[in-house]
C-alpha cells in the first residue's frame, strides 16, 4: 500500500472530461493543499465541480475525501493547527479570502453529516433553524419554508401532523432526511453530504438515494461515500482519491466500467479498500 504514487494531478492520463453541467462549473478546486500540523493530508487537489450534478467522492478510509469535503464550507476552521494552500473558488470567488463571510458561505453550502444530528428541539424548529439564526421571525415565512423543505426532503407526509414533536423521537432515516430538509431550508446552492447513509439501514438508505436523485438539478451535490454501488447509483461524476491525492475524476460510468488507473480499478472492483 505504501508504494509511491506517481500520478500527477491534472495529467491527461487520469483526468478526462467529466459530464458537463448546464452552466460553467460552480466550484473550482485549484491546487488545494491541507496540513494537520506537520502532516499533509491533501496534495494539490484540482478538480471542477459541475453545477446541478451529483459528484461522488470515493476512496479508501483516510484518503482525505471527508477532509476535502469539509474544507469546502470551511468546517475545518474549527480545527487548531490546520494550514491550507491553494484556492477553492465558488462562482469564481476564493472562499478562503479573508474578506469572505464564513456564515454567508455556509448558507450557500449546506451540509449533511455522517450521523444524523437533529437539534434537541421540535421538528419544526429544526427545519426553521437556519432561518431563525438569520433573524427571520415571520411565522408565515417560517411555515412555508418548513413545508417546502420537508416536501423537498420527502418527509412532509410523514411528519406534517407532528411538527411540534421532538425531532429526537424520529427514526434514524427520518432524522437524516430531516437534516437534509434543514440544509435545504437555508436555500443553498451546493449540498455537501458526508457519508449520509453510513449510519442507516438499507431501506432508509434507498430512501435517501431516491431523495438525492430527486434533488439532482436543483442543487449541486457533492457526496462522500464508502459504498461503491451507491456512488454508481446516485452520481453523475466520480472522484477517486487515494492518500490525499485525486487519482481519477470522470463520468461515473467511465470510472466504474473503464477506469484508466490500475488502483482505481482495484478499488472500484473491491480488490482493496
Amino acid at each position: 500500500m505504501a508504494e509511491p504514487v506517481s500520478f500527477q494531478p491534472g495529467s491527461e492520463k487520469t483526468f478526462y472530461h467529466p459530464q458537463k453541467g448546464a452552466d460553467p462549473p460552480i466550484l473550482e478546486i485549484d491546487r488545494f493543499n491541507l496540513w494537520y500540523g506537520e502532516k499533509q493530508a491533501l496534495f494539490d487537489n484540482t478538480i471542477t465541480v459541475e453545477k446541478g450534478l451529483v459528484t461522488a467522492l470515493v476512496g479508501p478510509s483516510g484518503c482525505g475525501k471527508s477532509t476535502l469535503l469539509r474544507s469546502l464550507n470551511r468546517m475545518n476552521d474549527l480545527i487548531e493547527g490546520l494550514r491550507i494552500a491553494g484556492e477553492v473558488r465558488l462562482d469564481g470567488q476564493n472562499i478562503f479570502d479573508p474578506q469572505v463571510d464564513v456564515i454567508a458561505l455556509r448558507k450557500r453550502m449546506g451540509m449533511v453529516f455522517q450521523k444524523p444530528n437533529p437539534f434537541p428541539m421540535s421538528i419544526f424548529d429544526n427545519v426553521a433553524y437556519p432561518l431563525k439564526v438569520d433573524g427571520v421571525r415571520d411565522r408565515n415565512v417560517l411555515r412555508e419554508t418548513v413545508e417546502r423543505s420537508l416536501q423537498a426532503a420527502a418527509l412532509w407526509e410523514e411528519v406534517k401532523d407532528r411538527l411540534k414533536d421532538n425531532a429526537l423521537g424520529m427514526s434514524g432515516g427520518q432524522q437524516q432526511r430531516l437534516c437534509i430538509a434543514r440544509a435545504i431550508a437555508a436555500d443553498p446552492e451546493v449540498l455537501l453530504m458526508d457519508e449520509p447513509c453510513s449510519a442507516l439501514d438499507p431501506l432508509a438508505t434507498s430512501k435517501i438515494e431516491d431523495l438525492i436523485n430527486e434533488l439532482r438539478g436543483r442543487y449541486t451535490i457533492i457526496i462522500v461515500t464508502h459504498n461503491m454501488q451507491q456512488a454508481a447509483r446516485v452520481s453523475d461524476n466520480t472522484v477517486f482519491m487515494y492518500l490525499g491525492r485525486i487519482i481519477e475524476y470522470g463520468k461515473t460510468d467511465t470510472i466504474f466500467t473503464k477506469p484508466r488507473n490500475q488502483r482505481t480499478q482495484d478499488y472500484v472492483t473491491g480488490r482493496f479498500g
Binding site: 474549527l78 487548531e80 444530528n117 437539534f119 434537541p120 421540535s122 424548529d125 411540534k164 434543514r182
Partner: protein, 572 residues
C-alpha cells in the same frame, strides 16, 4: 478435519474450582460493603435528626416526686441513664440500699428532670436517682407555664389578680386562665407592634433627618445661609418627629400600665410563690390533664411558634423565623450571583478559549479552589469585600454615616458574595462537564446551518447542557446553604435586630447582618449558658436546616426536569 480438532479438546465447561480473584468477587463484595456502610451512615444520621427533632416539642407528663430525704420536686422527665455510683456515696447509703446497688453491679438508674423555675432554683434541669424517690405522682393541677423570661415554670396557679379583683378558686381559675392569657398576649403584641414598628419608624426618620443634615454640611462650598437653612429644616423635622415619639411613648406607657393590672400568682411544689404579669405567659400546658389530641395541639403550636416567631431567652426558646429567612435570602442571593459567573466562566473556558497550557492551568486552579478551607474564604471575604470594597462604597455613598460603617462591615451582600466565591468552582466544573458532554456533531450541524458561534451556544449547546448546569447549581446551593465558618466572619450574627427585608426603602437591605440556621445550631448548642435547655432547639434547627436544603434541592431538581422536558420539545 475441523470437527476432529474440536472433539479432541479435553477441556470441560464444568469447572470445579473457581478463581475468585479472576471473577472479581472480592472487589464486588468490598464495593457493596462500602455502599452499605455509606447508606447506613446516611440513614442513621437522618433517623437521629428526625427522631430527636420530631419528639423535641412533644409535651411529656409532669411528675411530682416525693424524695426520701423529705423534699418534693416536680419536673418533666427528659431521659434516663445507668451510671456507676460513686464509692463514697455508696458508703453513706443504708445497708439495704447498698446491697440492692451491689446486686446491680454497682450501677444505678437516674432520670434527668426538667424542673424549670430557673428564677427560684438557679437551675432548670436536675438528675434524680430512682433509688432516692419515695413515691411519684402525676397530679392534674400541675402545669408547665412557658414564660417570656426565665424559661418555663412548673407548679400550680394560685391566684389571678384581674383589675384588683383576686380570684383564687381553682375551678374559676381554670375557667378563665386561657382567655386571660389570650387577651394578655394581644396586649403584649400591641405594645410590641407600637414599640417596634411605629417607634422604630420614627427612629428611622429621625436618623434619616440627622444624616441628611450631615450630608448637607459635609458638602464643600456650602454657604452659611444654606447651612442655616438645612439646620432649620432639620430642627423642624426633628421637633415634629420628637413630638410623635413622645405621643407614642405615652401610649406605650399607658398600655403597659393597663397590662400590669392583670397579674397571676404561681407557686412551685414546695410552696414558693412568684407573681408576674399574665402577659409574660406564652402558653400554659396542663401536661397531666391533656388528652393525646391536646398534646398534639401543644406540639403543633410549638412548631408554629418555631417557624414564625423570633427567638427569646438567648435563642434557646421561641422561634427561628429570622434564621430561616436569613438563610433563604442569603442562599438565593448567592445562587443569583454564582450562576451567571460560573456558567459564563465555564462557557469561555470550554467554547471560546484556545485549549492550551494557560487554560489547563486555569482549570487546575479552579479545581484546587474547591478544596480551599472555607474559613479562608471567610477571611478573604472580610478583608476584601467588607473592609476594602465596602469601605470604598461607604466613603463614596454613605460618607455621612461614617465612622459607623454601612457596607464596610459584615453583611448579607458580602456573605452571599463570599459563598458565591466558595461555590463557583463547583459550578464551573459541572458546567464544563455538561458542555463537553454536548456532542460536537450538534455544534457542527448548527454551524453548517450558518449559525454563528454564539447562536450555536445559545440555541443548541446551552439548552442541551442545561440539566447538567442546573445539577452543578444544585450542588453549589446545597454546599452554600450549609456553610457556616466563613459566614461567622462576614455577616452572620447571633441575634439580628432587623430582617434583611422590610418596608423601608430600599426594602432589601444588603448591608444588614442576618441570622443563619447553621450558625444558630452552633450558637444554641455550644455557646449558650445552658446547653441542656438549648438541646431541643439544636435538634429542631438541624431538622429545619436539613429540610430546607432538601426543599431547595427538590425545587431545583423539579425546575431542572421541567427544563429538560421543555428543551427536549424545544422552542426558541
Amino acid at each position: 478435519m475441523r470437527s476432529s480438532t474440536i472433539s479432541s479438546s479435553k477441556r470441560s465447561v464444568f469447572e470445579t474450582g473457581c478463581n475468585l480473584t479472576a471473577q472479581g468477587e472480592p472487589f464486588v463484595w468490598s464495593m457493596a460493603g462500602g455502599l452499605a456502610i455509606g447508606i447506613f451512615m446516611i440513614v442513621a444520621f437522618l433517623v437521629l435528626i428526625l427522631w430527636n427533632g420530631l419528639v423535641a416539642f412533644y409535651p411529656g407528663p409532669i411528675r411530682l416526686l416525693h424524695l426520701k430525704n423529705g423534699r418534693v420536686m416536680a419536673g418533666e422527665p427528659i431521659r434516663s441513664e445507668l451510671y456507676r455510683i460513686d464509692p463514697q456515696k455508696l458508703g453513706q447509703m443504708s445497708e439495704e440500699a447498698r446491697r440492692m446497688v451491689m446486686d446491680r453491679g454497682g450501677y444505678s438508674r437516674r432520670w434527668l428532670y426538667k424542673t424549670g423555675n430557673f428564677d427560684l432554683y438557679n437551675d432548670d434541669y436536675r438528675w434524680v436517682d430512682d433509688d432516692d424517690i419515695e413515691r411519684m405522682e402525676t397530679p392534674d393541677d400541675l402545669v408547665m407555664v412557658e414564660r417570656r423570661e426565665w424559661g418555663p415554670f412548673i407548679g400550680t396557679i394560685r391566684m389571678l389578680k384581674i383589675d384588683g379583683k383576686e380570684i383564687s378558686d381553682p375551678s374559676e381559675i381554670v375557667r378563665r386562665i386561657d382567655d386571660e392569657i389570650q387577651l394578655a398576649c394581644a396586649r403584649f403584641e400591641a405594645i410590641r407592634t407600637i414599640e417596634r414598628d411605629r417607634i422604630g419608624d420614627v427612629n428611622h426618620r429621625m436618623e434619616a433627618a440627622r444624616l441628611a443634615l450631615r450630608k448637607e454640611l459635609m458638602k464643600p462650598n456650602v454657604g452659611a445661609a444654606e447651612r442655616e437653612a438645612a439646620q432649620a429644616r432639620h430642627d423642624q423635622e426633628m421637633a415634629e418627629w420628637k413630638e410623635r415619639y413622645q405621643v407614642l411613648e405615652r401610649e406605650v406607657d399607658a398600655r403597659k400600665a393597663e397590662d400590669s393590672r392583670f397579674r397571676v400568682v404561681l407557686a412551685d411544689v414546695e410552696g414558693r410563690q412568684k407573681e408576674m404579669a399574665i402577659s409574660q405567659i406564652v402558653r400554659r400546658i396542663p401536661a397531666n390533664g391533656l388528652t393525646t389530641a391536646g398534646r398534639l395541639g401543644v406540639y403543633a403550636d410549638r412548631w408554629w411558634e418555631l417557624v414564625s416567631a423570633e427567638p427569646r431567652e438567648a435563642n434557646t426558646e421561641g422561634g427561628i423565623f429570622p434564621a430561616i429567612f436569613g438563610t433563604f435570602v442569603m442562599t438565593m442571593l448567592m445562587v443569583v450571583v454564582v450562576a451567571p459567573f460560573g456558567v459564563m466562566a465555564a462557557l469561555y473556558l470550554r467554547e471560546y478559549a484556545r485549549q492550551g497550557l494557560l487554560v489547563s492551568s486555569v482549570r487546575v486552579c479552579v479545581n484546587n479552589l474547591a478544596g480551599v478551607p472555607s474559613i479562608v474564604y471567610g477571611v478573604f471575604g472580610l478583608g476584601f469585600f467588607a473592609y476594602t470594597v465596602g469601605g470604598i462604597v461607604d466613603s463614596l455613598l454613605f460618607a455621612e454615616k461614617l465612622p459607623n460603617p454601612t457596607f464596610g462591615t459584615g453583611g448579607l451582600l458580602w456573605s452571599a458574595l463570599t459563598l458565591a466565591l466558595l461555590t463557583v468552582p463547583v459550578v464551573i466544573v459541572a458546567t464544563e462537564e455538561a458542555l463537553s458532554a454536548v456532542p460536537d456533531s450538534l455544534r457542527e450541524g448548527s454551524l453548517a446551518c450558518g449559525a454563528s458561534r454564539w447562536q450555536t451556544i445559545k440555541y443548541v449547546v446551552l439548552p442541551k447542557a442545561m440539566p447538567g448546569i442546573l445539577t452543578g447549581l444544585i450542588l453549589a446551593m446545597a454546599r452554600g446553604a450549609g456553610e457556616v465558618a466563613p459566614l461567622m466572619l462576614v455577616g452572620v450574627v447571633k441575634l439580628a435586630p432587623e430582617l434583611p427585608i422590610d418596608g423601608n426603602f430600599p426594602f432589601l437591605h444588603l448591608e444588614r447582618s442576618f441570622m443563619h440556621l447553621a450558625f444558630h445550631i452552633f450558637d444554641v448548642g455550644f455557646q449558650s449558658r445552658n446547653s441542656e435547655a438549648g438541646k431541643p432547639m439544636v435538634f429542631v434547627t438541624t431538622l429545619i436546616l436539613v429540610g430546607m436544603i432538601a426543599v431547595l434541592n427538590a425545587t431545583a431538581i423539579f425546575v431542572r426536569n421541567r427544563l429538560k422536558r421543555k428543551y427536549m420539545t424545544g422552542h426558541f
